[in-house]
Amino acid sequence: MTIPHPPATRVTAALARRGRWRLPEVAFWALALAALFLLPGRYLILNEIAILALFALSLDLLLGYSGIVSLGHAAFFGLGAYTAGLLARHGVAEPVVGLFAAAGAAALVGFATSFLVLRGSDLTRIMVTIGVALVLGEIANRMAWLTGGADGLQGIVMGPVLGTFEFDLWGQTAYGYSLAVLFVLFLLARRIVHSPFGLSLCAIRDNPLRAAAVGIPVGGRLVAVYTLAAAYAGVAGALLAQTTQFVSLDVLEFHRSADVLLVLIIGGTGYLYGGIIGAVLFRLVQDELANLTPQYWYFWVGLILVVLVLVGRERVVATLAAPFAGLLRRFGRPVREA
């Protein structure tokens, strides 16, 4: 006997499908965890990847889900790094406290500057976000008495994570810590993008005019997601400061904003894993190319960027990674032929 599906059940099922866990996702996180025990000697790069992934995830909330393009996202990364670094330097040794403080500081500045990116075209947003990052960079440079200026912020001493896990020389704790934070914030982001709030962001991304015409407060939603993304970026910066025990002006520099955008373009926007997959590819390629021709790294970055944008990421990926296309779809990557 077949039970007919009443429409309401069908609708509920269709909506529930959006947020369901897929097997490749579980496998991915299991692998990332396994690396914590199986890849000694690679912890430093794994830690960097986890941090970059979190940074890119934060940008995905803006670009992929809300359609806000930013070329100054390092502003919040850097702010988080300095906040965590300064706290540790002045005696607050618990890393988790530093994370919350960094998130708070970045969220505050994110909220304040969100009003600058509410209106305007992509181009205005790019210019404004670059501008905000430049201003913060210059402030950090001028306040050398606090930040160490061009010498960087030294003398950061971190206590054990949650009073238990000491940082070790090989970076195992560092990677474990960054991975754990990435995972928790990923879960939170996943929850948010599959909520009504998250869906309304996608609506704004697709068509702000119509979004307002169905009663969505476009401005308010964008302020909220910009603030959230800033907090995420702040946490990523804090992780870098805490696990490397050093902060330099480099955290606020333009190339960081450009790199993270490139990471996200490589991995793809709007399905949360793009930033993570992009971060893995980006760092591995960076390592390889840097070994081959260290001084030409930015030559390669530039070339890849031009090719990706001109030829179209979808097509490059389709060509290079045709065998993986199905796999990516199973991560929930939306198929968006025009």
């Binding site: 309401a8 015409a213 169905v214």
Partner: protein, 250 residues
């Protein structure tokens, strides 16, 4: 009882071009009101002013007696003023299911829930199903909106405006560009709108206008040229001249 919608001396100019000229128009509760006029007369501009897409240069807008001239677009929707667009404005990458769901949950006040999963509120689901059935979108609910046939997209335009449960509904050429064979579906949906909703219909097809409306306003060069019952407008030689002139051009 206050009129459903009223404008007082509404005016809009784009630089030197006057797109809306001192328009004072009243829409009674539950009205079936048509707004007609030649291409470029300013009909869409008028709707954009009413819904807050454009800011008027002068004049006031009252919705059920309350001044909404300075309110943001989404607040007007919450107060009960919804519209469709002459050129589809839909969420291309979302499904009709998600699109209608957005409108419904925004109206029910749960649109900003950030912790709850989409699709876990029975009240939202029930309303989505009812709206989908009403507008014949049941089979298309899970398709990507951009891939829907044009006629279905036009129906979705009306469906999501309806999902806002408006007191006043502005329909900007709902059947524009729809092939003849699919027009009746849209016209039926428009005819079946609840009687207590005041509807302002912009439309070029005079047969449709006459069968739908009980009042007609004629806009020419941004200004209100005539305003009256269907019989008055149908008999008016000046209106006929405007329209015959139009047809001679076309």
């Amino acid at each position: 009882m206050a009129p459903a919608l009223r404008t007082i001396g509404l005016h809009k100019n784009f630089g030197g071009l006057v797109a809306t000229a001192d328009v004072s128009l009243t829409l009674e509760p539950g009205a079936r009101h048509a707004l007609i006029g030649p291409n470029g007369a300013g009909k869409t501009t008028f709707v954009n002013l009413l819904t807050g897409v454009l800011t008027p240069s002068a004049g006031r807008i009252l919705l059920e007696g309350a001044d909404i001239t300075g309110e943001s677009a989404h607040r007007r929707v919450r107060r009960g003023l919804a519209r469709t667009f002459q050129i589809n404005q839909l969420f291309r990458d979302l499904t009709p299911l998600e699109t209608i769901g957005l409108a419904v949950s925004e109206r029910q006040g749960t649109g900003r829930d950030w912790w709850r999963r989409v699709g876990t509120k029975g009240a939202v689901i029930g309303e989505i199903v009812a709206i989908a059935e009403r507008f014949g979108l049941g089979d298309a609910l899970e398709e990507r909106t951009a891939t829907l046939p044009y006629g279905k997209q036009r129906l979705l335009e009306i469906a999501i405006a309806f999902a806002c449960r408006p007191r006043v509904l502005l329909l900007d050429e709902p059947a524009a560009g729809v092939p003849e064979a699919e027009r009746h579906e849209i016209l039926a949906a428009v005819a079946a709108l609840p009687r207590d909703v005041a509807v302002l219909l912009i439309e070029h097809d005079m047969d449709l206008v006459f069968s739908f409306a009980d009042r007609i306003s004629v806009l020419v060069n941004g200004a209100l040229f005539r305003d009256g019952t269907v019989e008055e407008i149908a008999r008016d030689p000046a209106v006929r001249a405007v329209y015959l002139g139009e047809e001679a051009d076309a």
